[in-house]
């Protein structure tokens, strides 16, 4: 097990984590399920690669541009579909994700279905970690702000949230936009890490995988998402012989989680610094072990 291999797994986890963080805001904190987030990743990936290759902009600028491209598309999609009730929104996102993939299959500028090789590799462990830390920090502050609480209110009871004066449409929109930006940045990272993009990489399996990680980690918990990503990205890599059965186990695990512990690994709780100290017996007398 050499360092190069471990580093690869960590970078992959970091890339997944960006997309999962975004989806965690949408699903875990706002209560909207998306089966098309890979579509936003694809938009971000192609936009970031296109801008980086043709305009020779620095990495961070092209990643942000990719994120912004995904965000802008999400505004259109949100405007059209966020008014839909119940599972019609998930169905619409599913259609969106597949449509993006099929469109990219036919765009010859980006190589179509054959893929787009030769993107410069500009990602290393340190910049992935930095981007992740920034992403986590922003997400924590967003979730703990007034806006984040409004989103949680929508998740808990949309009708009640609307009655007390929360503009539910606006907050769903913000949530979708933010999560699309995160997914777009994650997509950009994919391109600059593998040096190769193909629409097939962003199929429905990817979208479902992201949703599964969010659920596995625990709805409404950022540390849960982080833990879930690390576990579910690293585990299958470590058990390579198990590769064929990985997705079988995922499927079974999802059903099992839904019927036995729908709150997931962390169950809406967060790991906090205070909580860790407390667990080792250093905490304040009145400090809570885990903040809800």
């Amino acid at each position: 097990m050499d360092w190069f291999y471990v580093k690869g797994i960590l970078i992959l986890s970091g890339i997944n984590l960006m997309a999962v963080l975004g989806l965690s805001l949408l699903t875990g904190f706002t209560g909207l399920f998306s089966f098309g987030h890979a579509g936003f990743m694809a938009i971000g990936a192609y936009a970031a690669a296109f801008i980086g290759v043709n305009l020779r902009l620095p990495l961070i600028v092209s990643l942000l541009a990719g994120g912004l491209a995904a965000g802008i598309i999400s505004l259109f999609i949100g405007r059209l579909t966020l008014k839909l009730k119940g599972d019609y929104f998930c169905i619409a996102t599913l259609g969106f994700g597949e449509a993006i993939r099929l469109i990219l299959d036919n765009v010859q500028v980006f190589g179509g279905a054959r893929g787009w090789p030769g993107i410069p590799i500009r990602i290393d462990l340190w910049n992935v970690v930095l981007i992740n830390l920034a992403g986590i920090a922003f997400m924590i502050s967003l979730v703990n702000s007034r806006h984040g609480r409004n989103m949680i209110a929508i998740r808990e009871e949309e009708l009640a949230a609307e009655t007390i004066g929360i503009d539910t449409f606006k907050y769903k929109m913000i949530s979708l936009f933010t999560s699309a930006v995160y997914a777009g940045i994650a997509g950009g990272l994919v391109g600059y890490y593998t040096g190769f993009l193909q629409p097939k990489m962003f199929g429905m399996t990817k979208s479902t995988e992201l949703t599964i990680i969010v659920i596995f980690g625990g709805i409404g918990s950022i540390s849960g998402s982080v833990l879930g990503t690390l576990l579910l990205t690293a585990l299958p890599e470590l058990l390579r012989a198990f590769a064929l059965w990985r997705l079988v186990a995922y499927g079974a695990a999802v059903i099992f989680i839904m019927i036995s512990r729908p709150e997931g690994l962390m169950g809406g709780k967060e790991i906090t610094f205070k909580g860790i100290l407390r667990a080792f017996g250093f905490g304040h007398k009145h400090g809570k072990a885990r903040e809800v």
């Binding site: 599972d87 479902t208 839904m258 019927i259």
Partner: protein, 292 residues
């Protein structure tokens, strides 16, 4: 003109298979208000059962046909017992059902990949390839058989739902499950029955699909189109599902016949989004009232 009529015949043939699949989605939706994404997995298993009963066990075709349908029936009921009943028992929100369904679909598909393998299997020729000729039109025997079988199954379903006592109970449960339960209808039994009927039709559809094309683990990606048809016709409405399927089948063959088969799927998914945006209840769906 001949080519146009030829395309119409092909469209009707594939549309009728879509209808068999779509009815399964709609039946479950009408009772339980969620999209059973694992239905595609049951269809795929039906196709595999038919294939193995024909090739490995050398059953005569009619026997293998009913054998596959019965196996799918059992599996659909089993699926409901394992993945949905525990959720039903504690009145879980519908999103948990969708996630559970996604998990089940992932499990089934990848289980088949891990055990049988991802290779394509071709049904042994059951009917002669010699087509009927009417004027300058060629009508394949297989297409004719598919259309007649589907039509018979759908007519039987209509008779069952509209003219039998059990059918009446199903309609009552779809109208209002709680009141039906108070009136002495065993809703648990009705739900099992609905899954059994959907499973049977899924098995039939799987065998027909396998005969027309091939059998492979990702058939679910095709069945998602029958789901689009169900949404198009109006989720929960059986006539809607049939009409939606026939229209989608015709649209697809006409597009690939006159335009390009590359854009066929793109147009299907765009259609899905367009319907959800402009008329989320579909062609025949009723506007549901929101329950607070």
């Amino acid at each position: 003109m001949t080519q146009f009529l030829q395309q119409i015949i092909n469209g009707l043939s594939i549309g009728s298979v879509y209808a068999l699949m779509a009815v399964g989605y709609s039946l479950v939706y009408s009772i339980m208000n969620f999209s059973n994404f694992a239905h595609g997995g049951i269809i795929m298993l039906g196709a595999y059962f038919g294939f193995y009963l024909l090739t490995l066990f050398k059953w005569p075709f009619v026997l293998a046909f009913f054998g596959a349908a019965l196996c799918s029936t059992v599996l659909a009921v089993l699926l409901e017992r394992v993945a949905y009943k525990p959720l039903r028992m504690r009145n879980a929100p519908f999103l948990y059902f969708i996630i559970s369904a996604m998990g089940a679909s992932m499990f089934i598909e990848n289980f088949v990949i891990a055990t049988i393998g991802p290779t394509f299997k071709t049904y042994p020729p059951v009917l002669s390839r010699e087509p009927f000729q009417i004027g300058s039109l060629f009508i394949g025997r297989l297409d004719t058989m598919i259309f007649i079988t589907s039509a018979v199954c759908l007519l039987l379903l209509v008779y069952f739902i509209d003219f039998t006592k059990v059918g009446k109970a199903i309609r009552a449960t779809a109208f209002n499950a709680r009141v039906s339960a108070l009136m002495g209808i065993n809703t648990d039994m009705i739900i099992t029955l609905v899954f059994a009927v959907g499973g049977f039709l899924a098995g039939v559809a799987g065998v027909l699909f396998g005969m027309k094309y091939t059998v492979y683990p990702q058939i679910g990606a095709v069945t998602i189109k029958s789901f689009i048809a169900a949404v198009f016709g109006g989720l929960g409405s059986l006539p809607g599902a049939v009409i939606g399927s026939v229209i989608l089948g015709l649209l697809e063959t006409l597009i690939s016949g006159y335009f390009s088969s590359q854009f066929r799927d793109l147009i299907s998914f765009s259609l899905l989004i367009a319907i959800l945006v402009f008329r989320p209840v579909g062609l025949m769906g009723k506007l549901g009232e929101e329950k607070a």
